[in-house]
């Protein structure tokens, strides 16, 4: 009944994605972290190898990955650079509402172009005043003849400055709370859209993050995903798919910090012996291993449930909360193991610590995940 073994293809996917992460991403991660430049040509290369848009189904030109395949890819690319992986993964976050709730025509029109050349999609949910309280969003989507008019402000939008497509959540009536939420596809070149300046961040610095203002932006009604008011259900289903991916990115960062720590502990000599021989260091490393192994099991189970078509909300939120918190702890300990060198930008682990923090915050904070888990326990029994 139980089988923990990856398929041959999954082993090869891991191998290939890790090769790309090590050779193409890790080698330039520090450079892009320092400059804050958006590594678009690197993303193009990743796209050409099939590493981006893992959510697009085979019938619309995608490779046809399972959810388990996708989390393997996310883990490996995040191992290469958590910040770059944010921008890579952001496409899946944005396109998933179309995959989940779109019509055949919408999928042909909006998904297929992403398989023909490297394109960027941004997921526009968060607002200056609404992060965790997503049902309270204030951006309005109002019917006007055959079109809809979008008004409002979005904040912390990943890849906004480079996007070819926005997938926006708004409300037809804020007083309806989650029942008014609607999802709409918007061409970023539409009149009335003002894209803000790139935000300066603690980590994920090469991932482009901006605010966007929508002033009477006219969008054809064909661009509504599902019906007006379907947005909340679509968002919840999207999160079931995206949380394992984000949890996997935490896992990738954690594994990277662990590997760096093990190597450094073997090299660094104090008190006439490698610090790996000191029990205090051994215990820190052992704790890292425990958390990485547990994260991987949770992430894989969350994806495996999706592939089986079963509800994964509780496990996906557990995976996201656990892996993100574990990643933060592991990266913090990695800096501790490196000591003074860990605090220096000349060494890789301070960046990992800065990058790790965001994963506890975005795509549902660690606290929101616990609320979701509690709801699954107390509202469904």
């Amino acid at each position: 009944m139980m089988n923990f073994e990856y398929t041959i293809e999954q082993k090869e996917i891991r191998e290939m994605a890790m090769k790309f992460a090590r050779n193409e991403m890790m080698t330039v991660a520090t450079e892009f972290d320092l400059s804050g430049e958006f590594p678009k040509s690197l993303f193009e290369k990743a796209w050409s190898h099939g590493l981006i848009n893992t959510c697009i189904p085979e019938e619309y030109g995608g490779v046809g990955f399972s959810a388990v395949d996708s989390v393997i890819i996310s883990e490996c690319l995040s191992y290469g650079c958590m910040g770059m992986n944010s921008s890579i993964m952001s496409n899946d976050l944005a396109l998933l509402p179309i995959v989940i709730g779109g019509t055949h025509e919408q999928k042909e029109k909006f998904l297929r172009p992403f398989t023909e050349s490297y394109k960027i999609a941004s997921f526009c949910l968060t607002e200056p005043g609404n992060g965790s309280d997503a049902a309270g969003i204030k951006t309005t989507i109002k019917k006007d003849g055959d079109d809809f008019i979008v008004n409002g402000e979005k904040m912390w939008i990943t890849n906004a400055g480079f996007a070819d497509l926005f997938i926006l959540y708004g409300t037809s009536d804020p007083s309806l709370k989650h029942k008014g939420i609607t999802t709409i596809i918007i061409d970023p070149k539409t009149e009335g859209i003002v894209i803000g300046k790139s935000e300066k961040k603690m980590g994920h610095r090469c991932s482009d993050t901006r605010g966007i203002t929508f002033n009477n932006v006219r969008v054809p009604k064909e661009n509504i995903i599902g019906k007006v008011g379907d947005g909340w259900a679509i968002a919840m289903k999207t999160l079931d798919h995206s949380r394992p991916l984000v949890a996997a990115s935490a896992l990738g960062g954690a594994q990277c910090a662990l590997d760096h720590s093990v190597n450094y502990a073997k090299e660094r000599v104090q008190f006439n012996t490698a610090i790996a021989n000191h029990q205090a260091i051994q215990f820190m490393i052992s704790n890292m291993v425990i958390k990485v192994e547990a994260s991987r099991l949770l992430v894989t189970k969350a994806a495996w449930l999706l592939d089986k078509g079963e509800s994964n909300t509780k496990v996906a939120s557990s995976a996201k909360a656990f892996a993100a918190d574990a990643c933060m702890e592991i990266c913090t300990d990695a800096v501790q193991i490196y000591g003074g060198y860990g605090y220096s930008v000349e060494y890789p682990v301070e960046k990992l610590m800065r990058d790790a923090k965001l994963i506890q915050i975005y795509e549902g904070t660690s606290q929101i995940q616990r609320i979701v888990i509690a709801k699954e326990i107390f509202s469904r029994s």
């Binding site: 041959i8 293809e9 090869e12 996917i13 290939m16 994605a17 790309f20 099939g50 590493l51 490779v63």
Partner: protein, 262 residues
């Protein structure tokens, strides 16, 4: 045209090898295998040549233990069309390997228009199979190739010789080309390639199937042992001027008698 590529599965360069129990080879149970890096250049060159010569097919051949087919699958995922595996012990000698490859090519029913290999395998570093294969197949062979131009079987090949000089060869008709580092930049197996690879044909033959038997053994392996561990380095104190002459004499003496480098 029919392009054949010969690849070997070798231990990852970071593997810690240990001799097996009877000392005839290394312990293979927990090794991480990779494609011999020189063979990656051969696969890439085959893919480039196929792209320039429409209608070509590439068949990759590997002789080795059947349990791990990942390296063949990597070649298929990179874009090779078909694979042949000859199930054989991993420590086959060069002559048997060359004969097995020849047998596998003949068994495929295709006439080889071009055979590409790496110039050597990084595990045993024998540097023999390409030349032996060419000899057995009565084909010309060119090794240490760093430049490859031309269409079909009319090729201009550049090979590195001692001292950084380059020899240029023109060939027409089938030949064996053994590739060196610098010839090209091997591509990654793309993810769509990995997913498609499982549908590509992989033929498996035994050594007997292709006419290789005990009479072909040329090398018997025995006494595989790890090299002795290096003794710790020696440190000499010579901070004070008065000591220095004596220390120099001591060091020179040890270099003569112990290290035997002088």
């Amino acid at each position: 045209m029919n392009i054949f590529v010969c690849i070997k599965q070798v231990p990852d360069t970071e593997t810690k090898v240990t001799p097996n129990s009877d000392g005839t080879y290394i312990e293979t149970s927990s090794i991480k295998w990779i494609m011999n890096p020189y063979d990656e250049y051969a696969v890439e060159q085959a893919l480039l040549h196929k792209a320039a010569n429409t209608g070509s097919t590439i068949t990759v051949v590997r002789v080795g233990a059947v349990k791990d087919t990942e390296v063949l699958r990597t070649a298929l995922a990179m874009g090779v069309d078909e694979a042949i595996l000859v199930d054989a012990p991993d420590n086959l000698d060069s002559y048997q390997t060359a004969k097995a490859i020849k047998g596998a090519i003949e068994k495929s029913g295709k006439t080889a228009d071009l055979i590409l290999t790496g110039k050597q395998a990084i595990d045993d570093d024998c540097l023999q199979v390409p030349q032996l294969l060419a000899q057995l197949m009565e084909l010309p062979s060119i090794s240490v190739v760093v430049g490859f131009e031309g269409t079909g079987s009319d090729l201009t090949l550049r090979r590195e010789v001692e001292g950084g000089a380059i020899e240029v060869y023109k060939t027409s008709g089938p030949c064996v080309v053994a590739c060196n580092k610098g010839l090209n930049s091997p591509r990654y197996a793309s993810l769509p390639g990995i997913m498609k690879a499982k549908k590509k044909p992989l033929a498996i033959h035994s050594l007997t199937d292709i006419g290789v038997n005990q009479d072909d053994v040329r090398v018997k392996y025995s006494n595989f042992v790890l090299p002795p561990e290096k003794p710790a380095g020696k440190k000499f104190e010579a901070m004070e001027e008065g000591q220095q002459a004596a220390v120099v004499a001591e060091v020179v003496g040890l270099l003569r008698t112990e290290a035997k480098v002088l």
